[in-house]
Amino acid sequence: MIPSAFDYAAPQSLSEAISLLQGNAGQAKVLAGGQSLIPLLKFRLAGPELLVDLRKVPALDHLEERDGHLAIGAMVRESALEHSALIASRYPALLDTSSVVADPLVRNYATVGGNVAHADPANDHPATMLALRATAIANGPNGQRTISIDDFLVDTFETALAPDEVLMELRVPRPAAHSGSAYVKLERKVGDYAIIGVAAQVTLDGEVCAQAGLGLTNAAPRALRPREAETFLVGKRLDEESIRHAAELAASAADPVSDLRGPADYKRAMVRTLTTRALRLAAQRARQA
């Protein structure tokens, strides 16, 4: 499959990238790892006139803790998360997520930024970013702005980014003491998109749940935060009973569609099952933390 023709630029600076995007009003696309965009070009589902490759733009590949948060530069590859000791020790849900995105070869290119900016409800990172209450840093002709992940994810394939804005970084608040997180994904085979995926983060005060974050993959037209389930958990003992009730609430919030990965009823049932598993695992990790 051959994409239709386009121009290509690999600017050396952010300002150059932004002016290229600005100068090609709506006809240009940012290229990160290309693992979603190139398939779209090949299937001719996208036909931009210009690709602006970020690979030479400096300072987009940092992965480190700064000022109370984890900073993930927009060009950090999934494979970098997978092999990071910091991620493994403090952000287990991010490790769980990056190890189930596609396959190891795709993960050598696919960026975490692209995974979120693509805003496919089937992408795994948006749900995790919801559970971890991340924020997105964007930069454009009018300067830098900070967008909460809830506002960033607008709809299927739609984010709050303007066509001439670049996603610079994702910020994940450093988890409080006694926190644990997990991402659990049900897939038909290795490398496939989720039938359903559930991300959870909890903070414990003794056995009581002090904070809870949840995010659902492929359960609605966009990655979904099941708010009622989160609110219910706060202040409750985090035991089987409260976990099961929260899972019921998450399942009622879900709005999946029937497709080749299964009928809607089945998917809703899987939201219940996977929410239970994700919360159990997050709680277990919080107790060990």
Partner: protein
């Protein structure tokens, strides 16, 4: 048109190409190295795997312009001075292939794995090749072939199924 300048298997190579040219077509049709295969053409099978700066990459889902300035290794570069690479020898000795269509990609993934981890467990081998599909072998002999290569690269004595049967 865009200028793409790379090293392929150690030798400098450059060509003027359309930005939409996929890396796999650059390698096969422009550079004329047809050892790299196209299987699914949709990022699933890994038959098109090559190393870009040492990193195993699905070349059907990269543009040639994206690797400008990079270092490419394809299956043609594995053999040196008439000597098979240990990974090639392992596939030969352990019957790691049947039709051979997946083999060039499988071997490039194996080379990258062994360069990073010279003594992987079977589980680590299986994980590493989970983006490379084989429709013939059932993977058992592929895992053995990669383990054979690992042992050989570590300088341990090796006997393959082919030799012990002889």
């Amino acid at each position: 048109m865009a200028q793409v300048k790379v090293n392929i298997n150690g030798a400098p190579y450059q060509a003027e190409v359309e930005p939409r040219l996929l890396l796999v077509h650059f390698i096969r049709e422009v550079a004329g190295l047809t050892g790299t295969h196209v299987g699914c053409d949709s990022t699933s099978c890994g038959a098109c795997t090559v190393l870009v700066d040492g990193v195993p990459s699905k070349s059907c889902t990269l543009l040639a312009v994206q690797v400008d300035g990079g270092d490419l290794q394809t299956v043609e570069g594995l053999e040196r001075d008439g000597q098979l690479h240990p990974v090639q020898e392992g596939f030969w000795e352990e019957h790691g292939l049947q039709c051979g269509f997946c083999t060039p990609g499988m071997m490039m993934t194996a080379v990258a794995l062994l360069e990073r981890n010279s003594n992987p467990s079977d589980d680590e081998v299986r994980r590493a090749i989970s983006g490379n599909l084989c429709r013939c072998t059932g993977y058992v002999n592929i895992v053995k072939a990669i383990q054979y290569a690992g042992a050989k690269m570590r300088g341990e004595p090796v006997t393959g199924a082919a030799e012990s049967a002889a």
